[in-house]
């Protein structure tokens, strides 16, 4: 779950990480009132989950009420790469002496937490990694030991920041590590982490990705869930508890198991089609889940044909086939469907499907044949 900047800053603040004072606002009047309370100059920042806000005119400095009103009016409702700005964050403008970079994430290969610190902040860390990899100071942290103050201090020294920033940075890194681990984040990134002319260090931006699997032990994460960017299809699938990723093609895909669903999307592409989505209905493939999945796909106007790819294991092929037939009875499907059913009792299952076969419902015995059939159907209906 990706947090908006202001949510990330509130998350940081809850772990005592210093951030600029600010307020979120959804209307121009609220933004202006917030700016008046905070005191000028303020920065008004578009809250969207996409990079390049500044270039798109989504970040503006206001030195008085009139400017705050003008900028808030321009930014709210702005379209930044397809993301409409619904919230602005108004914060006290900071004087910047130096800009650094700091982050924690999981190094999957090392199976340790990875901390990265650089004196070159304010630019994409990937760019720094390519042009000047030595400018990034890294530390691998064993989750059992955690980050100690001594190791944080040595790490900060190695990054060769302005010595005036060292104490403040050590303090922030210890708190940021706590936010990352206790807060169940996949990523906590501060870019830039700034040193002000009077020697203070604080987070000027916040990029936080939370681990959705940990929601059970955190109160109030539903607030973040509500601001996730999903298109209509993704939202509908999410509401039904389905694992769905929207793509931009014409072949709707339903499969059981994440691997098989990925594989189905791949094979549709391999035979020249364009998948409309990834959808994993899980191992069981019962009628109710299948009906929900079909509803989501059927509501996608770009879908011209549907590919249902099921491998029967513990849920046997005949049970799966009955589930599909029941689901089809519940949802009025407009486009043709090709089903590939394999695994335990696949033949019994196919026999059930044959009874219901029509122009709208066909069955194939292999993934490849089914993919070819469904792509042909989708193409013939695209014109």
């Amino acid at each position: 779950m990706d947090l908006l900047e202001y949510q990330g800053k509130q998350f940081f603040a809850s772990f005592d990480i210093p951030v600029s004072p600010g307020e979120a606002a959804t209307t121009v009047d609220d933004a202006v009132a917030a700016a008046d309370r905070i005191g000028y100059p303020v920065v008004i920042k578009a809250q969207v989950l996409v990079g390049g806000r500044g270039k798109a005119g989504g970040v503006k400095l206001a030195t008085n009420t009139a400017e705050a009103r003008e900028h808030a009016g321009n930014i709210l409702g702005l379209d930044i790469k397809g993301h409409i700005v619904k919230v602005v964050w108004v914060e006290a403008a900071s004087d910047i002496a130096e800009e650094y970079y700091a982050s924690f994430t999981l190094d999957r290969a090392a199976k340790k937490h990875l901390g990265m610190l650089s004196a070159q902040g304010g630019v994409e860390i990937e760019t720094v990694a390519e042009t000047d990899p030595d400018a990034i100071s890294k530390i691998w942290i064993d989750p059992v030991d955690g980050l100690t103050e001594d190791s944080a201090r040595a790490w900060v020294s190695a990054a060769r920041l302005n010595p005036d920033a060292n104490d403040g940075t050590v303090d922030i890194l210890l708190k940021l590590y706590r936010a990352y681990t206790k807060g169940d984040a996949d990523l906590c990134e501060i870019n830039p982490l700034i040193l002000t002319p009077n020697g203070e260090v604080h987070a000027l931006d916040a990029k936080v990705t939370l681990d959705g699997n940990a929601e059970f032990r955190h109160e109030g994460w539903d607030v973040y869930d509500a601001t996730q960017v999903r298109d209509g299809r993704e939202q509908a699938a999410h509401d039904k508890g389905l694992q769905y990723v929207g793509l931009e093609g014409s072949v709707g895909v339903i499969a059981n198991g994440a691997g098989l669903a990925m594989s189905t999307v791949d094979i549709v592409t391999q035979v020249g089609g364009k998948p409309a989505n990834f959808l994993d209905i899980g191992g069981g493939a019962n009628a109710e889940v299948m009906a929900g999945a079909l509803e989501v796909i059927n509501n996608d106007p770009d879908v011209k044909a549907i590919f249902i790819n099921i491998f029967g294991g513990i849920t046997k092929g005949d049970e799966v086939a009955n589930g599909i037939v029941t689901a089809l009875g519940r949802v009025d499907i407009d486009v043709p469907i090709v089903i590939r059913l394999d695994g335990t009792n696949a033949e019994k299952g196919r026999a059930i499907l044959v009874e219901h076969e029509s122009e709208k419902l066909q069955s194939r015995s292999t993934m490849l044949e089914a993919a070819q059939a469904v792509v042909e159907l989708a193409k013939s209906r695209e014109v």
Partner: protein, 294 residues
Amino acid sequence: MSIFVDENTKVLYQGLTGSQGRFYGLRNRDYGTQVVAGVNPKKAGTDVDGIPVYATVAEAKMATGATVSCIFIPAPGVQAAVLEAAEAGLELVVVITEGVPAQDEAYLYNKVTRDFPTTRILGPNCPGIISPGKANIGITAGEIAKAGGPVGIVSRSGTLTYQALYELKLQDIGVTTCVGIGGDPVPGTSFIDCLEAFEADPETKAVMLIGEIGGTGEEEAAEFIKKQMSKPVSAYIAGVTAPPGKKMGHAGAIVSGGKGTAAAKMTALTDAGVQVGNNPTEAGELMVKIVEAL
């Protein structure tokens, strides 16, 4: 032979008294697995269809001689359950549970590796392990696998593993052991752990590897195959067309910052001499040819 588990393996189930644990525990027993105990502090002294339930893993181990645990406990309780099994000295802890927080997985992996080096974690978020004809621990449908060998399978995906087992069975090819390592970011058992065991197992003559996008496990496996494996390997990687930045069902299946793509993994495996199929069926056909040539 087989790797990690066989007909002599005694298994206890943490979560046997829950609906999932009961369903799969009894299925595993029907398959022939030695399901010797359940663990639930609140239901100690009772039984599940004749399988005795103990208060702790240590007691269950003492009473039954179990060396393996299979965990069906909901995600919030997984960390404590795995540590209890490790502290009791079990050799293998199979975690079926999906949705375990990544912070817990990272902690568990490092804690168990350091403090309980004789304990192996498999999973979380995995279908389990099956040595066909000998033992089935987890949620795989045992009837789709043919016993005997010569193929070993290691996979990050459940249904694709079933697909592979089933296709090999249709071709009358047996499997020594099939290990599902799971789709999470910090798997307790890696591809390399399994490849190493298959390389050492005399009955396994060839290995099928099923990977997916995200992480670098497949690249590390390729490096290992290149340097240390004599047995032929076929592979399939799911997620060639997955968009970057999106989790494709599994918590670990994500291309981030241009890393973890299927293309990079397929290239690494091909360079290591692995026969890589473009879809699961093709990978199966490649394995059939490998087996015919053995």
